[in-house]
């Protein structure tokens, strides 16, 4: 590829974190606290992708240098972490902050300073102003649980013809959000959310949850949350001889084959909502690059594909890279952009939400197999 010398403009030199041959990117990922099981693999995926890009000569002649700081998953430490990235390490932009509260804190710093924040991992509900218009400097890639709830409700009632639905959800703001939209969407399509039970991450015994849901005889149970607890719920139900007539449908954090493996035989036939596909070009590329890994990691894949989106944005921002040029690219060059891993993504100056297309998969022989096309949230709700 092209060398660092040549026609670099002088303005680039004065842009924080951008030099002739490198772009310094900051990331706040908890690699030391409670979120490290999620964030550490995400970081590994990031590095995998950026290493690939750098080996191929970088972006517009500049290598990407990713500086990661851990905030211990603790939102009171996020601000310090972000400040370190921008006041000490002189980063150009913030790529990924893990955790909802953490992302909100980071945003309050970056947005006011005109620093781009791409892929906050959580915190979506706060990134629009009162009129529903996107905050100018934050771009989300992840789908949100609200959209997903609408699509799941639609899919279950219209496509699977379920009449009664039960819900197990993680008892936090996101879980409640999905509970609401799932209910709305079911109702609209003539079905009903008959029971819902919240759990917290530290819960060890799901018997009461199983028995409570069972008592309401739902056709199908929707599982919202993270792979561990949802798997525990299914294991508990199975060991107590309970299986909802139409089985289960899990939301997107469960959309990967390792979850299917975790469930073992009990997982056969379970539906999962997802928005990424390893059958896609980027997915195949990822699988090849990680063929030596012991297991597939959805989080690592998450890091990889989002690094790709971000790299594309940097590349579209052009050789004279500034924060404004990056914003310009993000706002205008991502119209129905093909992510390469399945869904498309659209950002406009007013719309910075993440992916809102979901597809449904089913576990067959411990493998997730697509059973539907992508369904756009905007098509099934409003």
């Amino acid at each position: 590829a092209c060398g660092g010398n040549g026609t670099t403009t002088t303005t680039a030199a004065s842009v924080p974190g951008v030099s002739n041959d490198t772009i310094t990117i900051g990331a706040v990922l908890d690699t030391t606290g409670p979120l490290k099981v999620i964030c550490a693999p995400i970081l590994a995926g990031d590095q995998l992708y950026f290493n690939k890009i750098n080996a191929a000569g970088g972006i517009n002649g500049r290598k990407v240098k990713l500086v990661q700081v851990s905030d211990d998953g603790n939102s009171t430490k996020t601000k310090g972490a972000v400040r370190q990235l921008f006041e000490q390490d002189n980063a150009f932009a913030l790529f990924q902050v893990c955790g909802s509260g953490n992302a909100n804190v980071a945003e309050s710093y970056t947005n006011s300073k005109g620093i781009p924040l791409v892929d906050p991992i959580g915190g979506g509900s706060k990134f629009n102003d009162a009129q529903g218009k996107a905050l100018p400097w934050v771009w989300m890639t992840q789908p949100n649980y609200g959209d997903e709830g609408h699509v799941i409700g639609y899919y279950l009632s219209s496509k699977q013809h379920a009449k009664t639905v039960g819900l197990l959800y993680e008892d936090d703001v996101l879980g409640l959000q999905q509970k609401t939209t799932l209910g709305e969407s079911l109702q609209k399509n003539g079905a009903q959310l008959v029971a819902s039970v919240g759990y917290n991450a530290a819960q060890t015994d799901f018997t009461a949850a199983v028995q409570t849901l069972k008592a309401k005889h739902p056709d199908v149970i929707v599982l919202n949350g993270l792979p561990g607890p949802t798997a525990k719920f299914i294991a508990t139900a199975t060991s107590q001889g309970y299986h909802p007539p139409m089985g289960y449908l899990a939301n997107y954090p469960m959309a990967d084959n390792s979850w299917a493996k975790v469930l073992g035989p009990a997982g056969e036939g379970i539906y999962v909502s997802g928005y990424t596909s390893t059958a896609s070009p980027v997915g195949q590329e990822y699988l090849k690059a990680t063929s030596s890994d012991a297991v597939f990691s959805a989080y690592k894949f998450y890091g990889y594909i989002n690094s790709k989106i971000f790299s594309d944005a940097l590349s579209k921002a052009g050789k004279t890279l500034t924060r404004d040029s990056l914003r310009n690219a993000l706002d205008h060059d991502f119209n129905n952009y093909d992510t390469g891993f399945g869904p498309s993504l659209t950002w406009t100056p007013d719309q910075h939400g993440g992916v809102s297309d979901f597809m449904f998969l089913q576990i067959k022989n411990s493998q997730l197999t697509p059973v539907s096309d992508f369904i756009k949230a905007s098509q099934v709700w409003q």
């Binding site: 550490a40 015994d205 018997t207 949850a209 008592a215």
Partner: protein, 305 residues
């Protein structure tokens, strides 16, 4: 009714697991006066080790189990030598914090050598899918194993501590290390044995917990540590039967609360929320302690002047 019984049985089993976890904690507490906060990490490390044996070299379950149960005491000995021995004579608080530091180190090591266990994996056992049906009631095989193993271990350990020469020496150590040495008992060796034994118990607990939910990852012990501690204190901390009773009580009550509170609200307050349930359990726990500060089965501290 069936549902209720199912919840009760699950409570008993979960409670036994808490009790089982505390056996090793109480063992170390009774003999050295220290709450071992690294216990969960040891337990997780051993269970993860077994998982690797099962999935890496694809060993037979029973063979992997035997190797793990041999590995655990060795790990205990290594930890005792490398870590517990140097702080043997340090003040109690120092030791407690040292076990916390140890937990950090062990967790990091486990995660570093087996990164795949950062995420949840399937842990299979021969008991998987087997259950007894009684009317509509399901009692899975692993639950029965848990109840039997826990009770047996508790009884055996209690017998050992109360009536054998070594057991008495272990308790003596908690009172006075110098005097124990004056009796000709090798404090170092006893201490090593305690760690080996408690690591063994930790491994059993980890394996059973993983076996019950058929799930494992590096942090899978974390959530049960605090309820187990609470159960142990409820039972009296210095009594092995007590810690089992305490553990079962916590397991049972939290299950029953979860069952009875499900779907209920108090005004606009969602009282089925886990936070409310945990709060109620905690309040109950404090009330019991206020009535019996030494715990249900504990002996009041005797200090004569």
């Amino acid at each position: 009714m069936i549902a209720f019984l199912q919840v009760v049985i699950a409570g008993l089993v979960t409670g036994s697991l808490y009790g089982l976890l505390t056996l090793g904690i109480v063992l170390i507490y009774r003999t050295t006066g220290v709450l071992n906060f690294a216990y969960g990490a040891i337990s997780a490390l051993c269970a993860c080790f077994m998982y690797i044996l099962l999935t890496g070299p694809r060993l037979n379950f029973w063979l992997a189990l035997c190797i793990t149960l041999l590995f655990a005491p060795l790990l205990g000995i290594v930890l005792e030598r490398g870590f517990a021995r140097p702080v043997l004579h340090a003040p109690v608080f120092t030791k407690a914090i040292a076990t916390l530091a140890l937990a950090l180190v062990l967790e990091t090591i486990t995660q570093a050598i087996w990164p795949q266990l950062a995420e949840v994996q399937h842990f299979s056992t021969p008991f998987e899918g087997h259950a007894i049906h009684l009317g509509g009631l399901y009692i899975s095989a692993i639950d029965l194993v848990i109840l039997v193993v826990t009770t047996t271990l508790m009884l055996a350990l209690n017998l050992f501590l109360m009536h054998t020469r070594l057991g008495i020496a272990m308790r003596a150590m908690a009172d006075s290390i110098p005097a124990t040495r004056l009796m000709g008992a090798s404090v170092g060796r006893i201490f090593m044995l305690i760690w080996a034994l408690s690591a063994f118990l930790a491994a059993v607990c980890g394996i059973l917990l993983a076996g019950q939910s058929n799930l494992i990852n590096v942090q899978f012990m974390d959530p049960i540590l605090l309820p187990a501690f609470i159960g142990a204190v409820l039972g009296g901390l210095d009594s092995l039967p007590g810690s089992l009773i305490g553990g079962i009580l916590v397991g049972l009550v939290s299950n029953l609360l979860a069952y009875f509170l499900a779907g209920h609200t108090l005004g606009s307050l969602d009282i089925s929320n886990p936070a409310i349930r945990d709060t109620l359990i905690f309040v109950g726990f404090v009330i019991v302690l206020l009535i019996r500060p030494q715990g249900l089965r504990g002996r009041a501290l005797l200090r004569r002047v």
